[in-house]
Subunit: 287 residues, 2 copies
């Protein structure tokens, strides 16, 4: 079985796209605050933008807020992407943006929920609980994860920017034996380096916000091969060209750009998606 990122790269080649269409049915964008309206909103987006999408990314929160009917809608949306894949003759992965993270049997249940019950192909996860909380999601190479590394929000630095040198606390206290200044890196870079060591089946990527190009460049240097999911273009103010120059691999791949409101609020979402796809392609050719 091919790995998740091999499958994604095939789709990137077939669609000439690094665009990841975000499916975020914000209540304020719906004609009514119902699961049915959220479903219609997403099905319309999926149908119109599929030819330009390297992947789709539904955000679990906007479905969960409608309770059980919202959860059913999410399942239907993922099924609709599968139908578009069949129609286009090209597999389009679904990345469930859920930012889960739990231990042992609970992580198993979340993996079951994402990959079996819902039928998503990849999920975003929070790394705070460590390796064993991620492993249940990595067993099948065709399923992938994007681990939160450096997020695009203002409070991201509260933990993610803290300086670490990789040394861990022990019951006897810190083990540092000299007063020499060790090599320090921000926690998010440490997470990236850890994630690289967990990526044994080519199915671990990183979420690195497009709003901080310096961080993108730092993480790219630290882990030259890994795939990034880089939110923050458009509504959150990130600049597309700056982000791509900072985060692309030399092969012009390795980076998915999720866009939500920039497409869903456009008069013609299919046109907006095509334009984003083409703008990214132009920059890749120049870079």
């Amino acid at each position: 079985m091919e790995s998740f990122f091999a499958l994604l790269e095939q789709r990137v080649a077939e669609s000439a796209s690094l665009l990841c269409v975000g499916l975020d049915p914000h209540v304020s964008d719906l004609p009514a605050p119902t699961a049915e309206a959220a479903l219609d909103f997403c099905l319309n987006l999926v149908r119109k933008t599929a030819p330009y999408a390297a992947a789709f990314k539904p955000n679990a929160a906007f479905f969960e807020q409608f309770g059980a009917p919202g959860w059913a809608a999410l399942q239907t949306v993922i099924q609709a992407v599968r139908e578009q894949s069949n129609r286009l003759g090209s597999f389009i992965p679904v990345i469930l943006d859920a930012k889960r993270g739990d231990i042992a049997s609970t992580a198993e249940a979340y993996a079951q929920s994402a990959f079996e019950t819902l039928g998503a192909h990849c999920i975003t996860l929070n790394p705070y609980l460590g390796r064993d909380s991620v492993e249940p999601f990595l067993r099948r190479p065709e399923n992938g994860v994007f681990l939160l590394c450096k997020t695009s929000n203002t409070g991201a630095g509260d933990l993610q920017d803290l300086l670490v040198d990789g040394e861990q606390w022990t019951a006897d206290g810190p083990a540092r034996t000299t007063n020499q200044r060790p090599t320090v890196i921000p926690l998010y870079e440490h997470v990236a380096r850890l994630a690289q060591t967990w990526n044994l089946r080519n199915n671990v990527g990183l979420v690195v916000g497009a709003t901080q190009p310096e961080a993108l460049a730092r993480v790219r240097t630290a882990v030259p091969e890994m795939w990034f999911l880089a939110p923050g273009i458009g509504a959150q103010g990130g600049d597309l060209e700056t982000a791509l120059r900072a985060g692309l691999r030399p092969d012009g791949q390795g980076m998915l750009l999720p866009i939500s409101r920039g497409i869903s609020r456009a008069e013609k979402p299919e046109l907006a998606a095509a334009q984003f796809r083409d703008a990214i392609l132009d920059i890749r050719r120049k870079t």
Copy 2:
């Protein structure tokens, strides 16, 4: 309106209990792998153990794995706790163990989902995204959060034990100006200290595993007043008396002990819950 922890302390007084009954419908514990079986499992536990429970803690993963019907079951379980509160004339809080964590409007949607759609009173959250990802959950003092601080799993140390001194990365690199060894603490302690500064409405607590009494004692020293949710007693091997001695406040409160399989797998769950409640009470009286 009273704060979440004021409401919890009232329930602790009325039930003489620090026991938090976990509602984890593991498939392996159900007669059939269905949402209906999960619902029956939980309703039975709620009915039998309510008099001994300071709080209930359903884990979202074990409901999500059944899709929309699982989500409906979770809503019904929370409603059943409300009915027991009415029957007993004492408000029993529901802590949704969901370990969510997302930004801005997405965090708002998760707060809506937990507190409005599901009707839970408190939620577990992951702190990796920083203060602004937590704030949407804190606006109403009667709703609370427990932030993951030090978890009970084997990989917890991968990030949580990393040494930090509170200094953050800047675009100019690390700002340390001397070679002197700064005061370093494990990341989980830094999270506890940060969380204390976020606790402006008496509705922020911490998840600190009962499996590492040294960590419990460290966090208790760092934040003398905060409430802990301390999983790991029983199935995960934590010792009750050691954990209580390490984590209780001098007033004999400040710590909820979640027990799941130790109660649900007992021949008589009501007896097991009563015994846990009384064992905790004995230790509180001696400590």
